[in-house]
């Protein structure tokens, strides 16, 4: 892998060819998916992109700033419900998406600050439980805000949400191109792809920016960061707000894509899964997070084939496949973490931290010792 990468860097022409190949692959992805795996997988492909956006958003909070957030799905819920309530027959409002998505980002960002503000003094696991509680509080409120005034329609959720549409082109409908029918999953794929690429770009630019370095400093040692003149309060709040706003946008997209939202989509397990994507892929490393999102979204779906596989192998279904599916999924989590504790693609900084070269470490110690003498 590294050999290929360095070769690519050395040769400009090869690099361009690789970029071209990537662009080609990404644009034809839904077609390839449908040909290879069937139409239902195009929908899964859309979800892969959606989770990628969520994971990249959470990566800002957890991977960059090192703040363990177990309630991330709360912001996703805020974005989704904002879109659902303002673009559905529930209130009879049908605001356009280009107003709703930025609004979702803004409101979710505000919620991020709302969560961040009281938790600034908390560290590590205390933060984890408070964010977890925050996510649960949002879910409980969504579940119960149907009385005395019906705001969220309670556990039934909100139905018939408007699909995203631009200039009369609705992403929700069937479209004919060259005489072929393409369902909404295709149009949403390209929309999600553009937004995911945008979020990846923002994440890359953030990582080595002044703010990104401030986050890294806080993650490594908050006291030292403060001593170096970083306004830890503002920078931490910024991390929460930015991560949350990514979540809010993804939430809005989810609502439009799904056409239906209910509190059940935003339970704790969802937050945990997004966190798993980051940690499993390689925290703080964008490529790792992307890989984690792809893997953890497709794995449970791929494991649905365990039922047919059993029939093929033993002639009958021995174990309930839906059950076995999650069992294998849990085992996979354990096994991957045991063999790759820093994630599948660890970030270069973390790699350095984890495996200090013994000679260098020994030398450093020797010099300290010498200077003391």
């Amino acid at each position: 892998m590294n050999a290929i990468l360095s070769k690519l860097r050395a040769d400009r022409r090869l690099l361009w060819i690789a970029y071209l190949g990537l662009v080609l692959l990404l644009t034809t992805m839904p077609f390839l998916t449908e040909m290879g795996l069937g139409r239902s997988w195009v929908r899964i492909l859309d979800f892969v992109l959606l989770y990628m956006m969520l994971a990249l958003g959470l990566n800002i909070v957890v991977g960059y700033a090192g703040l363990l957030d177990l309630g991330y799905v709360g912001f996703y819920a805020v974005g989704a419900y904002l879109y659902a309530l303002l673009a559905s027959p529930h209130f009879g409002l049908h605001l356009p998406f280009w107003l709703l998505l930025p609004m979702g980002a803004l409101i979710a960002g505000l919620f991020g600050v709302l969560l961040g503000a009281p938790t600034l003094r908390l560290r590590g696991d205390y933060l984890a439980i408070v964010t977890l509680g925050f996510g649960e509080i949002i879910r409980v409120f969504l579940n119960n805000l149907n009385a005395p005034i019906n705001l969220t329609n309670g556990p039934q959720g909100v139905n018939l949400i408007d699909p995203i549409s631009v200039n009369g082109f609705s992403f929700g409908g069937m479209h004919q191109v060259f005489g072929l029918n393409f369902p909404s999953t295709y149009s949403y794929y390209y929309l999600f792809l553009v937004l995911t690429l945008l979020i990846i770009f923002v994440s890359i630019r953030l990582e080595d920016s002044r703010i990104g370095r401030a986050w890294a400093a806080i993650r490594e040692d908050e006291v030292a960061a403060e001593a170096m003149g970083i306004r830890t309060r503002n920078v931490k709040l910024l991390a929460f707000a930015m991560g949350a706003s990514f979540g809010g946008v993804s939430g809005g997209l989810f609502a439009a894509f799904q056409g239906f939202v209910s509190p059940e989509s935003f339970n704790l397990m969802e937050s945990v899964m997004i966190l798993c994507m980051i940690v499993l892929g390689g925290m703080g490393n964008i490529a790792g997070v992307i890989l984690g999102a792809v893997l953890l979204t497709t794995l449970p779906e791929a494991l649905r084939y365990l039922g047919p596989l059993q029939e093929f192998l033993f002639g009958e279904v021995l174990v309930d496949p839906s059950n076995l599916r999650m069992l294998v999924f849990g085992l996979a989590l354990i096994i991957i973490m045991i063999f790759r504790p820093a994630g599948l693609l660890p970030s270069s900084r973390r790699k350095r931290e984890l495996q200090p070269e013994p000679e260098v470490a020994a030398q450093e110690q020797a010099t300290v010792y010498d200077s003391k003498r």
């Binding site: 957890v62 363990l68 009281p118 938790t119 003094r121 908390l122 560290r123 590590g124 696991d125 205390y126 984890a128 439980i129 408070v130 977890l132 509680g133 925050f134 649960e136 509080i137 409980v140 409120f141 579940n143 119960n144 009385a147 005395p148 040692d221 908050e222 006291v223 704790l268 945990v272 966190l275 798993c276 940690v279 499993l280 925290m283 174990v319 309930d320 059950n323 076995l324 999650m326 069992l327 999924f329 849990g330 085992l331 996979a332 989590l333 354990i334 973490m337 045991i338 504790p341 820093a342 973390r350 984890l354």
Partner: protein, 309 residues
Amino acid sequence: MDIFLQQLVNGLVLGSVYALVALGYTMVYGILELINFAHGEVTMVGALVSLAAIGAILGMGLPLPGVVIVLLGLLVAMAVCAALGFLIERVAYRPLRNAPRLAPLITAIGVSIVLQNVAMLIWGKQYIPFPAILPIERYEFLGATITNLQIFIVLLSFCAMGGLVLLINRTRLGRAMRATAQAPQVASLMGVNVNSIISLTFILGSMLAAVAGVMVSAYYGLAHYYMGFLLGLKAFTAAVLGGIGNVGGAMLGGLLLGIIESLGASYIGPLTGGVLGSHYQDAFAFFVLILVLVFRPSGLMGERVAERP
């Protein structure tokens, strides 16, 4: 007033169960600085195993009183959970002792998913009723009703907690545990076998979880493969409320959380003029937690500890 007293009693019962589970979280955290997310699932396994054992004993038709049968089921559950706790630590946490902090969190989630699904494979998705073999008696006390089961639960959990405190503070083993929690390396230099102390911590915590699981299923009259999730979440909240890593804090946090919850469930409606109903019980508990942590960032009894480098 009688409602207040009744809810206080209910909260005390619920809280003593939370406290037992919270102890498991806090002991592991105190030594490994690890949130053992699978602990709630151990409670669930304890409850289901005890029910299976009780069912088997009833099936044999021995002329034993109900209490003895339940206690036998409890013993079986404790043994199974002790083995399970030992196994979880060996398989999922020990290989990651020196890994980044979040890695064991993910394996913990993996273990919890695996345990849930194994339980579902064995016991199915339905609720399993607790056999009505315990002679329930009701006592009236200042207008509140207390059953002998409730009294038994509170007494048993207080005994278990007292025993644990004695073990930690008065015995050689407890001293080794405290030493390991403070500084594992130094403890191992002093001749403490750190690995076996950690295993032992998991075993002890899992046994307490088994006790809690059996009592919860006896109290509510049923057990279910998914019951560990919420219970574990509440207990973890309780441990943090009291100050995670602190044994006394876990007990205090558990009892407080139970009381807050049951009082909240009955008073949140009248207090907010009927706007918020008792459905908000769970949100209320978390709200109190956040409020407490704003003013005491390390929990009620936790000490301000420096972040580990």
